[in-house]
């Protein structure tokens, strides 16, 4: 019966279904897109390690005018001395490590040369951990590599692929900016995130890096890992206190460095996604409202076209609730039909974002369910009046109607 009603009012039905579909599509699409972003960001964040934070001259993300940028620029750089002081004086952290990197194209092995720049990263023995990767072959840096400025390097798989397509890289000499480095390790492949390879880097000892690659803008990033989640806040406090002392920040002034953690990054991102969610919600509310009015219209027409049928049904024993239920079911069916289309399109659309950003696709089952529930509610909400009209028709008048 419901299908008949739809077939008889094709254009109106299509427009209504479209409205419902758009409404549901915008919710599901945005939710799917956000979900894909969140899952990939989460997996990124996991890599950093949960109890980890960084000390940095610049914030990870900042929004603001020129004044803000100037404020950060005028800060003192974080140099190796500060890092060593911090490392020497802290007691709580599990580890304190340092890292800094710079894009570099001038890297070659025999006649093979990089075509696009790779990130040359100065690191200590914790560098792999900061990169959240593991060795697939070779060894890690040792303290002596750093202390004695050894020209050794650990290659990311992308760099290894280009320089050593057919050869075993370990033990070979490559040239970075014309200087020889011995390959001591190759890391595991991590693949892509947000459309960018995570494997296009090489590590060299931080001491060598500072000697060869630093300039007056170089400011190191210090990574601190607390021993446990419980100790995290205390560790942050200790590090802030020490950094202030080391950098001689007067007591009344605010920190002249940034502490950034995964949590903060996640918070910033959720603020951003929250905005998108609100927008999607607004679009869907409008679309669903329009669709709801469409459903009410179709149902009213359907009721007036079927007055005779309603009369017959009442004459053979249908009570008000039977008729009400029948027409409500039709309204729900209509809206569900549009809803299913919207959910499917939404999931496809949302995953298109996943495809573009090269992150794994997701199917938000919970939101698909909510979407269909919302559709039912729209169907009931806007179908109730026509159904009520049908239920309250007078049986005799309806029977006489042609």
């Amino acid at each position: 019966m419901a299908v008949e009603a739809i077939r008889q009012n094709k254009l109106r039905s299509i427009l209504t279904l479209l409205g419902i579909s758009i409404g549901v599509f915008s919710v599901i699409g945005v939710m799917t897109a956000i979900r894909t972003l969140e899952t990939s960001i989460d997996s990124q964040l996991d890599i950093f390690g949960t109890n980890t934070f960084t000390v940095n001259k610049w914030p990870d993300i900042y929004v603001g005018g020129r004044g803000e940028g100037k404020k950060f620029r005028e800060r003192k750089n974080i140099d190796y001395y500060q890092f060593e002081e911090l490392k020497r004086r802290v007691v709580l952290p599990l580890r304190v490590s340092v890292i800094d990197g710079e894009g570099e194209r001038n890297i070659q092995y025999n006649d093979k040369q990089l075509k696009r720049s790779a990130e040359v990263t100065g690191a200590d023995e914790w560098g792999l951990r900061s990169f959240n990767t593991f060795l697939s072959a070779g060894r890690n840096f040792m303290e002596d590599d750093i202390r004695f400025f050894r020209h050794v390097t650990i290659l990311g798989p992308d760099v290894a692929d280009i320089l050593f397509p057919f050869e075993e890289p370990l033990g070979k000499q490559i040239q970075i900016r014309g200087l020889d480095y011995t390959v001591i390790g190759v890391t595991e492949r991590k693949g892509q995130a947000f459309g960018e390879s995570q494997d296009n880097f090489l590590l060299i000892p931080i001491s060598v890096y500072l000697q060869r690659f630093s300039n007056r803008w170089t400011s190191l990033r210090i990574t601190v890992e607390a021993v446990s989640a419980e100790m995290y806040d205390k560790t942050v406090d200790e590090v802030i206190g020490l950094m202030r002392a080391i950098r001689q920040v007067p007591p009344e002034e605010e920190n002249d460095f940034e502490i950034s953690s995964n949590e903060e990054l996640a918070e910033t991102l959720s603020g951003f996604t929250g905005g998108i969610k609100m927008f999607a919600a607004a679009v869907s509310v409008i679309a669903l409202l329009v669709a709801g009015i469409g459903i009410m219209n179709i149902m009213l027409v359907s009721v007036s076209e079927r007055i005779k049928e309603i009369g017959i049904r009442k004459a053979i024993g249908a009570n008000k609730r039977d008729i009400l239920t029948q027409f409500l079911m039709e309204a729900i069916f209509l809206s569900q039909f549009g809803g299913v289309v919207g959910v499917i399109l939404g999931i496809l659309g949302g995953n298109l974002v996943a495809l573009i950003l090269n992150v794994p696709s997701v199917i938000p089952f919970d939101w698909a369910l909510y979407g269909l529930l919302i559709c039912s509610m729209v169907g009931i909400g806007f179908g109730i009046y026509p159904a009520w009209r049908a239920a309250n028709l007078d049986p005799i008048q309806s029977l006489r109607y042609d």
Partner: protein, 237 residues
């Protein structure tokens, strides 16, 4: 046992553009179980209005209607729907079938409203159709059936919930006389099996099937007489 149907001083007035139409104007009728009654009268005399009243489809402007000893006036919509569904089978002159549904589905509908489970429903609807000789037409839609067949579907539908009363408003009015005879045979059988039959007709030979004929004129009972001729006599065609 109380009397089945008891109408006292039933009036039904319509207000048509300020003018009052007295479709029923004080009708007193009592009908007992297993009576076979025909209602006759000129067009516009109020026969259909009376049938709708008896069938609990309409409510009177004045007067009282007792159905099985209970005042219909005191019943709510659901009770009325339930009476129409289970106790009364209504057959209309214009069949009033659901045009898009098959014969089987049409007969099934009252069973749905009686909350009969699906499997039983189909079985009972099929039985009901077989009883009126339409076992081979179950999956036909009304427009694929002849007038007589349609009316038999309507009768099967009216009988689906095994009501004790069958109301038929000019059941043969739209049929040729041969189909009319077939339909009347079904009513005769039903009466023989204990049902109460009330039918409206313009035809003397149809009315003769009944044991009692009520003549309506201008919304009033003009004559209410028992038929003395034997209704089992062959009906002239």
């Amino acid at each position: 046992m109380s009397i089945l149907i008891k109408l006292k001083g039933i009036k039904r007035y319509y207000d048509v553009g300020g003018e009052v139409v007295r479709a029923l104007d004080g009708v007193d009728v009592a009908i007992d179980h297993n009576e076979y009654i025909s209602i006759m009268g000129p067009s516009g005399s109020g026969k259909s209005t009376l049938m709708n009243m008896i069938g609990c489809l309409d409510s009177p402007t004045a007067g009282t209607y007792e159905f099985e000893g209970e005042l219909v006036h005191d019943m709510d919509d659901n009770q009325l729907a339930s009476i129409r569904n289970r106790k009364i089978g209504f057959v209309f002159q214009t069949f009033n079938l659901l045009s898009k549904a098959t014969a089987l589905r049409n007969v099934e509908v009252p069973l749905i409203y009686a909350n009969i489970p699906r499997s039983d429903r189909i079985e009972r609807a099929a039985e009901s159709l077989e009883a009126v000789g339409l076992g081979d037409r179950m999956h036909h839609k009304p427009n694929e059936l002849s007038g007589g067949q349609r009316q038999r579907v309507a009768i099967a539908r009216a009988l689906a919930n095994k009501p004790s009363i069958v109301l038929a408003d000019e059941p043969t009015g739209n049929l040729d006389s041969k189909s009319g005879v077939e339909i009347m045979k079904i009513f005769d059988d039903l009466h023989g099996r204990g049902n109460t039959i009330i039918l409206v007709t313009h035809e003397e030979y149809i009315a003769e099937h009944a044991d009692r004929t009520i003549h309506i004129f201008d919304g009033k009972v003009k004559e209410d007489i028992a038929n003395h001729n034997n209704r089992r006599e062959p009906v002239p065609t």
